[in-house]
Each structure stands twice: as structure tokens, then as C-alpha cells.
Symmetry: C2
DNA sequence: CAGTATCCGGTTTGATACTG
DNA sequence: CAGTATCAAACCGGATACTG
């Protein structure tokens, strides 16, 4: 054929990565999940803390995202026996494997801030 | 020390990363953009090729995503003077800076495929 | 405090048909 | 081939009020 070389052609390589990307996105896709992972990467937080840290998110939405992430075993929800109850969310070991990703994403954003904003 | 080190406290650190993540997501957020970048990372492609490679995307949506990405200067649209016209999309240098990111995302998906699917 | 319930408009999508 | 037009359906997301 043309440009495709070797045994593994471009499309195979491409497709396997596309599938992998979709898989990843299934877990951390959506507007807020990566931000939540990034937050919890620094330390476990309570609901109200996340509400403050993840700027712009609505309570209802945060609630739903956290549930999704718990289902996907990225985070653990721990009810503390305090006076008015409080709940602590923290990353599971599995969830922590996403930290490299969040850092890469944050790095890119920092590096290209000017270009991003200058639209 | 451990978590809080130096002058910069956790929340500052957290917030600056959250902001950076939002910036990145502004550019590559949405359901398909990362997949498109990944595809074009292998080689320039035509509209119909992308339609095939990015499984599940609708023509209308691909069209819009490509326009966004052109506006954000991630890709270039090049009309070829062929019999029925064809159009080639390819990454700009700026767009290529996202490749590390797409690889990291794809890697994570591959590594955790079993865990992702086993839900 | 940590959510849930409800309302409700806006955006996104998908399918299909159509154009140059 | 490379899109655009159209329309209905699905989903999302914000505000507010309410509960244990």
C-alpha cells in the first residue's frame, strides 16, 4: 500500500489507542471528574470542601459525580461520626493511579495558558 | 514536610491545578476531541476517515468538533484539489503538544481495561 | 453538614435527508 | 466526498427548597 509500514498498520495502532481513550473517558469523562480527582489527590475532603474547591459545580451535580466515582471505585465515601455528620471522600489506590494523568493535564494547561486564553 | 510544604499551602496548589485543568479541558474537553487528536497524531486524515476511525461519532458532531479545533488552532483544514474534493485535516505544532497527553490517557485505559470493564 | 427532590430551560445528540 | 439542515429525544446543569 502507501504509507502504512510494518506488520502493524497505522489503523490498528490508532484504533487500539482510540479504544483505550474511550475506556479512560468512560471513567473520567464529564465536566468535573478530573477536577475532583485532582482535588482529592492532595488530601481527602468533605462534601462542602469539594463544593468550594471545584469552582462552579452545583451540589446536585457534585453529588451525582461522587456517586459515579464511587461506583467506579475511584473514591471511597466515609461517614464520620461527628456531631452533625460529616463525610470524607478519598481516592482509592485505583483512583490514585489517575494522578499522573491529572498532573499531565494540569501541566499542559499551565504551559499553554496564554495560547488557550488568546482566542 | 509531608502534605503542606513551603509557603504555598495545599489549597493554593490545588486551586492553581484545578484552574489549569479547566483550561486544558476548555480546549480538549467534550466527548470526542481527544480521540480526534489521537487519530490525527498518527497521520493526517480526511473527513470520512475520521468518521470511520472515531467510532460512534456522527457526521454533524465531527464537523462541529473539527471546526472548534480549527478555531483553537489545534488542527489545520486543507482542501485538496482532487476530482470530488477531499479535505485533509492535520495537527498543527500546537496540536502536537497534546500527543503526550493522548498517550498518557491511552496508557491508562490499557492498563486498567479490566477494571474499567468489570463494572 | 450532606445531601435529595423538583422544576425547568438550554445544550447536545442521533438519524435521516439533502447539497455542491 | 464533505459536509449542512432539520427535528425530536436525551441529557445536563442551575436554583431553590427541603430532610435527617
Amino acid at each position: 500500500m502507501n504509507q502504512t509500514e510494518g506488520v502493524l498498520n497505522n489503523n490498528d495502532f490508532c484504533n487500539s489507542n482510540i479504544r483505550a481513550i474511550h475506556d479512560t473517558m468512560y471513567v473520567i469523562g464529564g465536566k468535573w471528574k478530573i477536577s475532583i480527582v485532582a482535588c482529592l489527590g492532595y488530601r481527602p475532603m468533605r462534601f462542602s470542601e469539594l463544593l468550594r474547591e471545584v469552582e462552579g459545580i452545583a451540589g446536585k451535580v457534585l453529588s451525582r459525580e461522587l456517586k459515579d466515582m464511587e461506583t467506579n471505585q475511584l473514591i471511597v465515601r466515609k461517614v464520620l461520626d461527628t456531631k452533625p455528620i460529616s463525610v470524607l471522600y478519598h481516592l482509592t489506590e485505583y483512583g490514585k493511579t489517575l494522578e499522573e494523568l491529572t498532573l499531565t493535564i494540569a501541566e499542559w494547561g499551565k504551559t499553554h495558558r496564554k495560547q488557550i486564553i488568546g482566542k
